[in-house]
Symmetry: C2
Subunit: 113 residues, 2 copies
DNA sequence: CCGGATCCTCGCAGATACTG
DNA sequence: CAGTATCTGCGAGGATCCGG
């Protein structure tokens, strides 16, 4: 039955990891913040998220799109224009990020005296 | 003043990253869960957290100790015994993890229909 | 038993050049 | 402008050995 409990915990682990994977990494947060701030075009985002390569930005946005957090819209101009924006669902991250912020803030106070 | 807002956001970013760094990575969560479950000895932890190398376990535990989330106690037996346990402060992670779990759980429902 | 030191590899991400 | 393709390095992390 100790086994039982372990299994339960492993099942708890997966959703937590999912949430974490979406937010962790070098670029996810900065990109999400940039989108919150209203940067929408690919170039704009690349300028806003300092240091990111086109390849990375492209990959990360694709990730976010797969997770339905970001919507990608192509305009048939010439040359093409592409806009990214947070979905309604994507905005539900705000609450979670706030929680992380709260804990992180008090952690700083503890660690850096 | 758009500049002002950006700066504000960058300051918001840091504590969030701090919180994230503590929880993200391949091993942090499994180790913390194992500690919650009451595994305390180094060997026990290594058995419980499947696949982790000694080097990694050692490094991760040191990390957690530096962040005051884990307490390390050496018993002067022969050979020496070492026990790790979550500090009171470490247990405050539980609430945060629960939040991540909630979001991650509903995310799974959305993504996997 | 605990965990540091050393060596080695494998994959991620940066730089650059290219296409529609 | 918005991305893709290729090439390359570099460093996280695994395996193993050793010492306290």
């Amino acid at each position: 039955m100790a086994e039982k409990i372990k299994e339960e915990c492993n099942k708890l682990l997966l959703p937590v990891s999912d949430a974490l994977d979406i937010l962790s990494g070098k670029w996810k947060l900065p990109i999400i913040f940039a989108l919150f701030l209203g940067n929408h075009r690919f170039r704009e985002l690349q300028r806003e998220v300092k240091g990111i390569s086109g390849k990375m930005l492209s990959k990360e946005l694709k990730d976010l799109e797969i997770n339905q957090l970001v919507k990608r819209t192509v305009f048939d101009t010439s040359p093409v224009t592409v806009e990214y924006s947070l979905t309604e669902y994507g905005r539900t991250l705000e609450k979670l990020i706030t929680e992380l912020h709260n804990w992180g803030q008090q952690h700083r106070n503890i660690i850096f005296r």
